[in-house]
């Protein structure tokens, strides 16, 4: 009982969706009540036609019954159409509302969630699971009550007309129920297996086609085709299994049907011959019996049907139940202008338990300065930026701005003042202008151009066929890596950030261009704080302060010359890159 209660309590958050269109669901119920009544009248009209209109040669009654039959048909057609419309109305609106809520929640989830799942999975949840869940919630009343109604109507009619036959029917109906349950479960399991396989194949194919450049570069086209086709063979095998199962189910169903219907026909026929039943009653009872069998089969599969309809609901709840990303604490304050000292104190952090990336790291960044973070790959340079952006929470220690722990500051205005450019610049398949103003949708054309100039991008943008209106292609595929990075920098700058984070953002630029851009971005009048993460030490020679990371801690810090003079890790890194030269050679954009 407790287990059931806890199981049901999981679906409690869906109550608001359920209640939102309860009136429509009740209307659907009334519709099916009335349509069901229409359905149950039809066999009875047939009985009256045989017993009264034909037997007594009553033309008036025959016409009245024909009109009644026609009305019943119109009645059930209109009822069905209205019911479908109401269902569509409710489920489409629910899909809209649920997709909005789901996306809102998805964007609040931590990055670790996205790193452990594929894009295809999210798309499947948005595209298939949510409409499935909405359809289930929108048609819940009908889905649960309709099978009972469709069993109740013919049962009541049979009981009213002939209770002895009702008893006979009740004893044979379970045979159909058992047959239906036996094959229903197997068919459902197979359908699930097929759906899972289809999802896996589609997800894999999407991934491989998206990486077509890599496939071509490694000459793996034939292998990819072979793998795809071998997956298709699995699907074909599943289709054949499904066919055989359907064949077995259909054959046994027809066999049971023939035996039982034959027996029932014999029983009713004997009663007609004995004279205690009319031909019309025999026809009507046979029709009700068929309705009863269908309804019993529906009821037999109701529980399993609900369970399978709950699959998309569960998949949706799996995501909605996940704890969202760092949220504003109660009483969190607006950070104001981010022009205070940035400090990380005794930071302990790891993406996986027992594998710390930062191990008691402490550093202080003065406002309006340019600082650089250098160190070996995997040393935690990007992690520091992630913590500043509050994409992750430190396991221990504090990140503070202007003396305030960032966890006590409101997240949205904090991020609003931070501009970030990543090494892999992702662009939308849109115009150059649209990509730049993504940083500030209200920006004017003049501001767009000013940002592009500052990022050293204006020149190549104006050389494009349509200038700022040129479409950059999927993920900026029409541009070089260096050009993409320049647009990424312009996008960050248009926000006029108080804190600008460059994570290997100039790695694809030539060293001359890199120095030129960093020089342009360097805070002149303390208008921003610039933090640069880079491998290329030549670019950060003029930084006010350089932090050298080693083993999750700050190993050295100081200006370029101070660090060289220390003759420690920084010196070794410098020597590895440039030998004993003081100035690095120029390299072009990649």
């Amino acid at each position: 009982m407790n287990e059931l209660r806890s199981h049901l309590s999981r679906y409690a958050p869906l109550r608001r969706y359920f209640l939102r269109y309860l009136d429509l669901q009740l209307a659907m119920l009334v519709c099916s009540l009335l349509s069901g009544f229409g359905g149950v009248l039809s066999p009875y009209i047939t009985k009256l036609t045989f017993d009264y209109a034909y037997a007594n040669r009553d033309l008036h009654l025959l016409i009245a019954l024909a009109v009644a039959g026609l009305l019943m048909m119109v009645f059930s057609t209109v009822g069905g159409a209205v019911q479908q419309y109401l269902q569509l109305h409710a489920s489409q609106r629910l899909t809209y509302a649920m997709r909005a809520d789901f996306l809102r929640h998805l964007y609040r989830l931590p990055l670790s969630y996205f790193q452990s799942r594929t894009t295809g999975e999210h798309l499947y949840r948005l595209g298939s699971d949510i409409p499935g869940a909405a359809g289930f919630i929108g048609g819940f009343v009908g889905a649960v009550i309709n099978p009972f109604l469709s069993a109740l109507y013919p049962l009541a009619a049979v009981l009213w007309m002939d209770w002895r036959f009702a008893l006979v029917a009740m004893t044979v109906v379970p045979v159909f129920v058992l047959q239906s349950r036996y094959f229903g479960r197997r068919q459902r399991d197979l359908a699930r297996e097929t759906a899972a396989e289809q999802q896996r194949i589609a997800s894999e194919a999407t991934n491989r086609i998206a990486q077509v450049k890599l496939v071509k570069a490694f000459g793996r086209e034939r292998r990819e085709i072979r793998e795809y086709l071998s997956n298709q063979i699995k699907l074909i095998r599943l289709s054949f299994r499904s066919y055989w199962l359907n064949l077995q189910s259909g054959t046994t169903s027809n066999l049971v049907n023939a035996v039982v219907q034959g027996g029932v026909g014999l029983y009713l026929g004997c009663r007609v011959i004995r004279g205690d039943m009319t031909v019309g009653t025999l026809i009507a009872l046979s029709m009700y019996f068929v309705q009863l069998i269908g309804a019993a089969r529906g009821l037999a599969n109701l529980y399993q049907g609900i369970l399978s309809q709950l699959v998309p609901v569960d998949r949706m709840l799996d995501v909605l139940e996940m704890e969202g990303e760092v949220q504003d604490r109660p009483g969190a304050r607006h950070p104001g202008s981010l022009d205070g000292v940035i400090a990380l104190q005794e930071i302990q952090f790891g993406y996986l338990p027992d594998r710390p990336v930062l191990n008691g790291l402490s550093l202080t960044i003065l406002p309006g300065t340019m600082v650089a973070i250098v160190g070996a790959s995997g040393g935690g340079k990007t992690t520091i930026l992630n913590l500043l952006l509050r994409l992750y929470e430190p396991d221990r220690g504090t990140v503070s701005v202007g003396g305030w722990d960032v966890r006590d500051l409101k997240l949205a205005p904090l991020r609003q003042q931070i501009g970030v450019v990543l090494q892999e610049t992702h662009l939308f398949s849109d115009t150059v202008r649209a990509n730049i103003i993504y940083g500030d949708p209200e920006a004017t054309d003049e501001e767009v151009i000013a940002s592009a100039k500052l990022a050293d991008a204006h020149e190549f943008i104006t050389a494009l066929p349509l200038g700022y209106d040129s479409v950059v292609g999927e993920d900026g595929c029409h541009l070089s890596m260096g050009q993409r990075q320049r647009i990424g920098i312009a996008r960050a700058l248009i926000k006029r950030p108080r804190l600008l984070l460059l994570d290997e953002a100039t790695a694809s630029l030539g060293s001359t261009a890199e120095v030129r851009i960093l020089d342009a971005l360097r805070p002149k009048n303390g208008e921003r704080t610039l933090i640069v993460v880079t491998h290329r030490l030549s670019a950060i020679r003029d930084a006010d302060r350089i932090f050298v990371l080693d083993d999750g801690r700050i190993a050295e810090q100081g200006s370029h010359h101070e660090l060289l003079a220390l003759d420690g890790l920084y010196r070794r890194l410098w020597d590895q890159q440039f030998g004993s030269q003081e100035v690095a050679p120029s390299v072009g954009d990649s």
Partner: protein, 171 residues
């Protein structure tokens, strides 16, 4: 000035929300009526049709010419359960059957008398010179078998009462 602007903005927003809510309520009401009204209407039409149509009862019974209140009538011996369905003044179609159940003559009359005894058989008198004349023409003396069709009860009543047993035909 600023406060007035804020208020007017709030009022505009409120009007918009109210208008939207009214539209939603109207739409919902339309959908609900769409679900219920046509079906109720169809059911009402159905009941109406069966209320106006009267069912023809056919009785195969012995008939003979008799006198009632100084006039000649066709008197039928009818089971009491069938007599309950018939009312005075109802029109009746009479067919006199021959030895092989073939129709000898057919005529039309009116139910003029019923003797409800509560026991079988009861008697039903059908009047009308036409039908008597027809019967005389085939020289029916004493008694014969006839098929008497009377349109009396509302179809709705018949539908509500009819179950699995035999229909109104008696023989």
């Amino acid at each position: 000035m600023e406060r007035a602007m804020t208020r007017s903005l709030a009022e505009r927003l409120l009007t918009k929300v109210r208008r939207k809510a009214r539209a939603v309520v109207r739409h919902r009401a339309f959908l609900l009526s769409l679900a219920v009204v046509p079906q109720i209407l169809a059911l009402a039409v159905l009941v109406g049709i069966f209320w106006f149509v009267r069912v023809r009862e056919v009785l195969v019974v012995p008939v003979r010419i008799a006198r009632a209140n100084g006039a000649e009538v066709l008197r039928c011996s009818v089971p009491s359960r069938d007599l309950e369905k018939i009312r005075l003044g109802a029109s009746a179609e009479v067919e006199i059957l021959g030895p092989a159940d073939q129709v000898e003559v057919a005529g039309r009359g009116v139910v003029v008398g019923m003797a409800r005894t509560g026991r079988d058989p009861c008697s039903l008198d059908i009047g009308g010179s036409g039908v008597i004349g027809l019967v005389r023409r085939v020289k029916v003396s004493g008694s014969a078998r006839g098929r008497v069709a009377v349109r009396t009860r509302r179809a709705l009543t018949v539908i509500m009462e009819s179950r699995g047993g035999t229909a109104g035909q008696t023989g």
